[in-house]
Symmetry: C2
Subunit: 217 residues, 2 copies
């Protein structure tokens, strides 16, 4: 069965050209969700939203009305709430049975919000959602059990444990391979590896980790 | 007993003027440590290092020799190693009985290195070191048990659990106070609080969390 895919735009920085961003997603059949000020980022990319969601405190009222008149669904939330707008967007995607989610604009702006966006990868995973932070030359996702990667030769690869330790870690196809290793969250051993083969595999028997793929330094 | 303090400069971005950075540290009696390319950052701030440490692969050889001739201690490490240069700098500080450490240049550059720098707060804490990431308008540290804050009225405050959950969390002096609450790493509940009093207190009975104080948005 085909996965239901959504692109979620949040209020951070663009890290590449419009063409580069559009190339990342052109093969995909995406529902496009603007999270509050993420709408401005979509406008820069000439991407039209299907839904605008959040407390809308970063958007001028007339802009929201413009999209409402164009038939775009608006889902407002109160400003004072326990969740960030991005978390509410993930809850929406869960309710609507989207399973494969791409987050853009997750970086830049306040570092606490950037960290919150990155830690939401764990929230998504616990909800059964496959969420990836994506920008030109960068991908951040979550690994539990195993994951295969293709066509990333010479890109940087880092593994950052979120649980205090990850165990039974094996890395194949990398400059620094590992076999049945244990990595600790507070040590930096998984940082700055590199893909050396066209296909590579990561196995994590116990625990969860972020993976980060970077094309450029 | 007076704490032995060190300033550790790593190879990220400056996020403020020379004057702002120098004002942060002018009252302190600091040993200044350049971690590899962090030396260039110290040069921009007109701060002279006592020690240059790391694999030195980001520095021209003649620059290293210049400082060596000036009597600066050079501590080289191999390029291929399990630790990042910043982790090695913390190990050095532990050996030399420094206990209060300030990290500058921790942000910018590659996101995996930025995350590794932030997660090193936990490494430092486990070593009995008090490490703070510091730049004009920003402070990132680790909280376990309790911490008091003074003179941060109107600044943003975020609490980001590193352990899967933090329990017995109380916040006093903040816009959104908490009493004996539980926060989860993968939820965003601790993000975007604000100091509303001149003095504030955070208590975390169980678990560890990052705290982030930001002056500007």
């Amino acid at each position: 069965m085909k996965k239901k895919q959504a692109l979620i735009a949040v209020n951070g920085e663009l890290r590449g050209s419009k063409e580069e961003y559009r190339a990342l997603f052109e093969q995909k059949d995406l529902t496009i969700i603007a999270v509050d000020g993420g709408l401005l980022l979509l406008e820069e990319l000439d991407l039209f939203p299907h839904l605008i969601l959040g407390d809308l405190d970063s958007l001028p009222q007339d802009k929201v009305e413009y999209y409402q008149e164009k038939g775009v669904e608006i889902l407002p939330y109160p400003v004072e709430k326990d969740e960030t707008d991005t978390e509410l967007a993930l809850d929406y995607c869960k309710r609507k049975a989207y399973t494969e989610l791409f987050l853009i604009g997750a970086r830049g702006g306040r570092i606490d919000q950037e960290l919150a966006n990155i830690f939401l990868l764990e929230y998504a995973w616990r909800q059964g959602l496959d969420l990836i932070i994506k920008e030109p030359g960068l991908e951040i996702g979550l690994i539990n059990k195993n994951k295969k990667f293709y066509n990333h030769k010479d890109h940087y690869f880092s593994l950052v444990p979120l649980s205090e330790r990850i165990q039974g870690v094996s890395l194949q196809g990398f400059q620094y391979p590992l076999a049945d290793a244990t990595l600790l969250r507070y040590k930096t051993r998984g940082i700055s590896n590199k893909f050396v083969e066209a296909s590579a595999e990561v196995i994590v028997d116990e625990g969860i980790a972020l993976y980060i793929i970077q094309e450029k330094v």
